[in-house]
Assembly symmetry: C2
Homo-oligomer: 403 residues x 2
């Protein structure tokens, strides 16, 4: 169970970097990806071996970058549920719809995957402090894992970000700042501190290991489907690290012989008010254009231009996937309908994938009997201001209104 | 893996009831407890068999009341972490302090245990609708499991209960009402509907199966300690179902031969502003007196008189335990300190157990090297209004203040 990490490679120009020193972007400005000696990994990275290991992302150790498991920083991650949505699925005409529910992770979001691996590797490489801009969930996760690791976190988030994220960062002892602006402004403030003060830059895709954590989403889904891939996989796409990570996981599973040639059709789901990937995909472009005046209730996917947009588009094109935008109204409606039919409280970004599944089914792009996996990126408990029917107030001596 | 449920027995007068019909309290007014054929259960309820089963509370099937696993209502429970608190523990002088973190359960609280078993069994017994008063977490959990089961939930909560619980109930489609009063007023409104409309009463200890879910907390802790019991076990005590359930679990484990004679010293932790069990314990009483003018930030343990108080006191006396009250300030301080040192965001009730551990260590009641388990009953993400240091606001062109 040793990491087969070999080196880092630029996702654009192919340049090679030493994986055992702290690295950020390639000189050409593109993200670096971790590469493994997959032949060596395949000797122990087998279905049977993996099945016998602990039920968490750490079971995929050979294809994780951590050299020494003693450096592992954990908040007790579990393998998240791949829940069958029978009642809800039948309402929208899908007989095998599953929800991969990453709201069950520590800090209540999928960002725990990236933070677990990213912070562990930062600690292993001797990094004492890092900085990042965030719309919320990533800041909460990296602060919590930072606290566990004893690594200092500098977090800058828009003042409009939900209050729960502020609480997470401040409680876990991060150096937290709000900016009177948007995520881009937060990024510029962090960027300056990186250049001028030598802060390690933990921004999306600017360090190479967060994506290695996200990758485990793909490993888990395939393993939970008994080493089969679904027909369709829907992902709420902001920075896109998840979709890039899952695609990377599928490529690595293929090369180690754990799955065959078939890949799921990958669907990037965005909000109508911020859909740069959707526009680029429909125009068959290799990169996206910055979205003007972005706005959506799904704060986590409010990203006007992703650094890794070309990797997201690559994954979509290579798998015969697509990209689709959904409305705020559809997200709110399906968030509530899922809660009513299945008892599951998910985030608006997760609800976006269900809205997309419904639309693609109606259009015939998804067939009724296909295996469809929708990804929920966060717990609905972190979204206190969704609209819901207000309860009636009873006086103390009232009778319960009951049919 | 079949339930060894045999019958229901009154916890006070010992009367016997049929377990395969819906039951509420005993005619004498005391709670009914599920009894099992432990000799028959012991044939398959072995350490080795259990270890091979799925990592959730359902693994203890022989000692759960569900007759047919097809009636199981699940929101994808996990075995919750028993996290080693090395950094925090050393600060308060304990070398082996663990946190049993039930915030990791569906709906973000330990109430999911009771709801999973309670709603499953209600469904199995053909109950179509139930009602309950709640301070919040129980209502959220029973609504969610009710939605999953297709069983109607009538929930009444004080208007002062945290907004997140309202959201949980309303989103999952419960019939939710607020009362212009306290939990006792909510209970009276439900009580009337039970009498007059035949609603099934799912109030704390008024149906016999919620406690069977809570019991699994005890099973999990002992199994996670490799079938050893801790020296001390601290539980935040409101209605007290958890402490009663854990004690019941220990008795059943002893009778099936899975543990020996040793029991943990059980500690009921209450808030200084609502401590009826603490008062009764110090006076060596068998029952508690209603606490006048109860108030605490830990809403979940704001229970002035528990129906099962005598069972809580029995468990404390039988194990050489104690009861202790902690202040709001201590809860807030330790909630924050745990987040800073361990990266874990817990609820005020959970923090109360850590405050109690610290005080009992200082008093010498707990020795430095004892194995101590503190129970966290809910995720800190559900408590958005805890005080924390407010972050500084930066303008868009600011430099990051960094040393």
């Amino acid at each position: 169970m040793r990491s087969a990490l070999s080196h880092l490679e630029c996702s654009k120009c192919g340049s090679r970097y030493d994986a055992d020193a702290p690295q950020q972007l390639c000189r050409c400005g593109a993200p670096l990806l971790a590469r493994y000696d997959l032949r060596s990994a395949a000797q122990t990275f087998t279905r049977k071996n993996i099945a016998a290991r602990e039920p968490s992302l750490w079971r995929y150790a050979e294809l994780l970058p951590l050299r020494d498991m003693l450096h592992r920083v954990s908040l007790n991650e579990t393998m998240t549920p791949l829940a069958q949505l029978s009642a809800f699925g039948s309402e929208i005409g899908l007989s095998d719809l599953r929800l991969k529910d990453d709201g069950a992770l520590p800090t209540g979001s999928f960002k725990a995957r990236g933070a677990a691996i990213g912070v562990s590797r930062a600690k292993e490489l001797g990094i004492g402090r890092f900085g990042m801009p965030t719309n919320g969930n990533a800041g909460g996760a990296w602060s919590a894992y930072g606290a566990r690791a004893g690594v200092e976190a500098y977090i800058v988030m828009p003042r409009s970000a939900p209050a729960i994220h502020r609480l997470e960062c401040a409680m876990t002892g991060a150096h937290l700042f709000l900016v009177n602006g948007l995520i881009g402004d937060a990024g510029r403030i962090i960027g300056k501190a990186v250049t001028e003060c030598g802060l390690y830059d933990a921004s999306t895709l600017k360090e190479p290991y967060r994506i290695e954590g996200k990758k485990t989403l793909g490993f888990e889904i395939v393993e939970q489907l008994h080493w089969n891939v679904p027909d369709v996989l829907l992902y709420p796409t902001g920075g896109g690290v998840g979709i890039i990570g899952i695609y990377k996981a599928l490529m690595e599973l293929r090369e180690t012989g754990l799955i065959g040639e078939k890949l799921p059709r990958m669907v990037a789901v965005q909000a109508e008010g911020c859909a740069p990937i959707v526009r680029a995909c429909h125009e068959r472009k290799r990169e996206s254009q910055t979205w003007q005046d972005p706005h959506t209730i799904a704060f986590g996917i409010n990203v006007p231009k992703a650094l890794g947009d070309f990797l997201v588009l690559d994954a979509i094109y290579a798998t015969g996937g697509t990209a689709i935008a959904v409305s705020n109204g559809a997200m709110e409606r399906l968030q509530r309908r899922l809660a009513e039919t299945e008892g599951l409280l998910i985030c608006p970004e997760g609800a976006a994938t269900l809205a997309a599944a419904q639309q693609l089914r109606e259009q015939g792009w998804i067939a009724a009997n296909e295996v469809v996996v929708a990804i929920n990126t966060g717990s609905g408990l972190k979204y206190g201001d969704v609209p819901y029917p207000q309860p009636r107030l009873l006086e103390r001596d009232a009778d319960l209104p009951i049919a």
